[in-house]
């Protein structure tokens, strides 16, 4: 399959559009149709990155959530099981699409591209550098977290004797110390390479919108407009 490569600006717009459409309550069939299309595109992108298993797993969960919402859950349903199911559907149908989109953006955007995009949108360097550091930290946090998890397994304290607070504490405390240290060393390394100079940063990455970008922008913009009209102007 041809790998789709999108401009970071398109991706940012897509995150915004997906989050907006998916989070807002959908009622009419039209709204549902828009929402499903908007959910399927990130899933397609996920598969495009080679994550077929994750994409398929999500599709199954999503299908189940849609069926539940359609045939089982209504405004009148009560009881523990329905409450749990409502929670499940909410997470799968309303949070996951945005999460997948965010994963895709973080996974496929190089810092250089991102910085260049921010510059083209005239965002101040201070803000774009901070956001870039946040993006750079996600994979680091993951690495650190996995390593802490291993250490806990070896000591047989993965579940900390069933105490939830301890379970969280044992994971978070070393993670925070690690990130703090890495952050400090990282900024020392960055300032010795001229970060913070009072000149406009430049970027060797030349960004240009391509057909795929325009297609996505049109699809998502149209979806948003349709959604807003059907929701608020009828």
């Amino acid at each position: 399959m041809i790998k789709i490569h999108l401009d970071p600006r398109t991706k940012l717009f897509m995150i915004f559009a997906v989050s907006f459409i998916v989070m807002v309550n959908a009622v009419s069939p039209m709204e549902w149709a828009v929402r499903i299309i908007v959910t399927l595109i990130p899933v397609f992108l996920l598969a495009n990155e080679g994550r077929y298993v994750s994409a398929l797993r999500f599709l199954l969960c999503y299908g189940a959530a849609l069926l539940l919402l359609r045939f089982y859950i209504s405004a009148e349903s009560t009881g523990v099981i329905s409450a749990l199911l409502v929670g499940y559907c909410g997470i799968v149908a309303q949070f996951m699409p945005a999460m997948i989109m965010a994963w895709y953006v973080i996974h496929t955007t190089k810092i250089g591209e991102f910085m260049s995009a921010m510059q083209k949108m005239h965002i101040p360097d201070g803000i774009s550098v901070s956001l870039a550091v946040v993006m750079r930290f996600f994979p680091t946090i993951k690495e650190e977290y996995l390593s802490i998890n291993d250490a806990m397994k070896m000591r047989g304290i993965s579940f900390a004797g069933g105490r939830i607070t301890k379970m969280i504490e044992y994971r978070l405390v070393p993670l925070m110390f690690s990130c703090l240290n890495i952050g400090e060393e990282l900024s020392a390394a960055a300032v010795t390479r001229g970060l913070g100079a009072p000149v406009r940063r430049t970027s060797p990455v030349q960004l240009r919108f391509k057909a795929a970008d325009w297609l996505m922008i049109v699809v998502f913009a149209a979806s948003m407009i349709l959604f807003v009209i059907s929701k608020y102007f009828r």
Partner: protein, 493 residues
């Protein structure tokens, strides 16, 4: 030219690493090696030159530092970026970008170089350093050595005249160290001034024009190039630093693995998701109650083997036979304890004693017994004075000892160390060797994943050598084959 005049420096909140009335002149094109034990102030000198002191690390500073005629205290850090380049110890934390291209161009972007110039500088640097194959890669798929080379390239791109390197070899294996050496030699041939603070010294023997030995913030000894080359193992031992040549390191240690009981790994076959890296070990017989070094180049599968021995990879179907027991991955998780390279990942509680107590899981013991046992263990590892201290407030060595203490407390028969001596000075390396010998005397079987030949010769009994995931050597270490071990590490020089 770099001139440091009568500098006194004290870090905020600690006495360690400060400098006392230090004066030093470094000429253009000189390669200066700073050595001495941890906390002697060698890193601090580097920070004076690259301006991190006083602009980033705060403390009390008197005296003056000038670099190429600029007063460092009055020069902004970004103005120094094109003058002084710095390579740091830890490749993990000095990267801003997550792809190699972005990392190399980062400095040039910061000072606002025009895009075309950035691209041509990047390509030139890649050509000069022969790293074209590393371009356009994700930082996370690089080995430690490759990361450090990218770090050098990302500094080189601004072509500063002065290079400061702070323990750059700490996380590197011998072949990566040789690549680093080649880069340094190239910089030197281009007339760059190089200031390098290091513990591992052997790769700098031919490069260093001057060596400064520091102790407690003062220069205690100064050697010129010829004197450096003449240093023998006995000399460096006496000076308290790591040897400058690997060929004459003695092997005096007596191997004690005469036990009859064996430990056998069977069918240790494991491949990572990427399908490339992994291990393939049909059978491996090893002595118990001894210290086994696992050696091999980066990517040979050392850490993978260690993780599999620990049982951290559930998919591995291999079993370990220990005495009459056959241990599967899940069982091994309960019989093995690993001291990780970054011990920060395995300290969870609020005090050193709690850390040890957490590992005593024997249900038959009463709380008083546990308390007593923890006191014993803390005394054994010289940690009694810190029993109420928060583990994160300890020094690196103390943290590592705390991790070892909880390993002992867990009463597991097998203890694995992942690179326990990376970035350690001679005294601390010997201390770790001493602790590991103690563990052996307690009857533990110890595996050590390491690149550190000096360390292997000071305590290991047995060597397992891996290449591309397969065992290519499995021998007891003695006087005779210590020579071939040296060969393995020295061959790349």
């Amino acid at each position: 030219m770099i001139e440091i005049k009568n500098v006194n420096f004290r870090y905020k909140g600690t006495d360690e690493g400060g400098l006392h009335d230090l004066s030093l002149t470094i000429n253009d094109g000189e390669t200066v090696l700073l050595c001495g034990s941890s906390g002697c102030g060698k890193t601090t000198i580097g920070r004076l030159i690259n301006g991190l002191i006083p602009h980033y690390y705060k403390g009390e500073l008197t005296g003056s530092v000038t670099v190429n005629g600029r007063d460092i205290a009055k020069t902004e850090l970004y103005d120094l970026a094109g003058v002084v380049g710095t390579v740091f110890q830890n490749p993990r934390s000095q990267f801003f970008a997550i792809d190699t291209d972005g990392e190399i161009t980062f400095g040039a972007e910061n000072i606002g170089m025009p895009p075309e110039a950035i691209i041509s500088r990047k390509n030139d640097t890649a050509n000069e350093m022969h790293i074209e194959r590393l371009l356009d890669r994700s930082i996370f798929e690089l080995s430690g050595g490759e990361k450090q080379i990218i770090a050098c390239a990302s500094v080189s791109v601004l072509s500063p005249d002065i290079m400061v390197l702070d323990e750059p070899s700490s996380n590197l294996d011998s072949s990566a160290i040789m690549k680093l050496k080649a880069i340094l030699a190239d910089w030197k041939s281009h007339g760059k001034t190089i200031i390098i603070a290091e513990h591992r010294l052997y790769f700098l023997r031919e490069l260093a024009d001057r060596m400064l030995l520091l102790d407690n913030g003062r220069i205690t000894k100064e050697l010129c190039a010829d004197e450096i080359k003449a240093l023998t193992f006995a000399d460096t031992e006496q000076m308290g630093i790591r040897p400058l040549s690997l060929t004459d390191i003695g092997y005096s240690h007596e191997s004690k693995s005469t036990q009859n009981e064996r430990l056998t790994l069977e069918n240790f076959v494991f491949t990572y998701k990427d399908g490339k890296h992994g291990i393939n070990i049909p059978e491996l017989e090893l002595p118990t109650r001894s210290i086994i070094a696992i050696i091999g180049h980066n990517g040979a599968g050392k850490s993978t083997l260690a993780r599999n021995i620990c049982g951290l990879e559930k998919k591995c179907k291999g079993v370990m036979k220990l005495g009459d027991k056959t241990l599967k991955a899940k069982d091994r998780l309960r019989s093995c304890y690993m001291i990780m390279q970054d011990v920060n990942h395995q300290l969870f509680t609020e005090s050193v004693r709690d850390e040890v107590m957490l590992s005593i899981t024997d249900k038959q013991m009463t709380d008083t017994d546990k308390l007593q046992k923890s006191t014993e263990i803390l005394t054994q590892l010289d940690l009694s004075a810190y029993s109420d201290t928060h583990p994160m407030a300890l020094s690196g060595g103390q943290k590592q000892r705390t991790a070892i203490a909880s390993g002992i407390a867990s009463s597991k028969p097998i203890i694995i160390f992942d690179e326990p001596t990376s970035g350690l000075d001679l005294a601390h390396m010997k201390q770790v060797a001493g602790e590991i010998l103690k563990l052996r005397d307690m009857g533990k079987t110890i595996f050590i994943v390491t690149h550190d030949m000096e360390f292997i010769l000071s305590c290991c009994d047995h060597i397992v050598r891996l290449e591309e995931g397969r065992v290519v050597g499995n021998t007891t270490l003695n006087q005779d084959n210590a020579a071939s071990l040296r060969q393995f590490f020295v061959s790349e020089i």
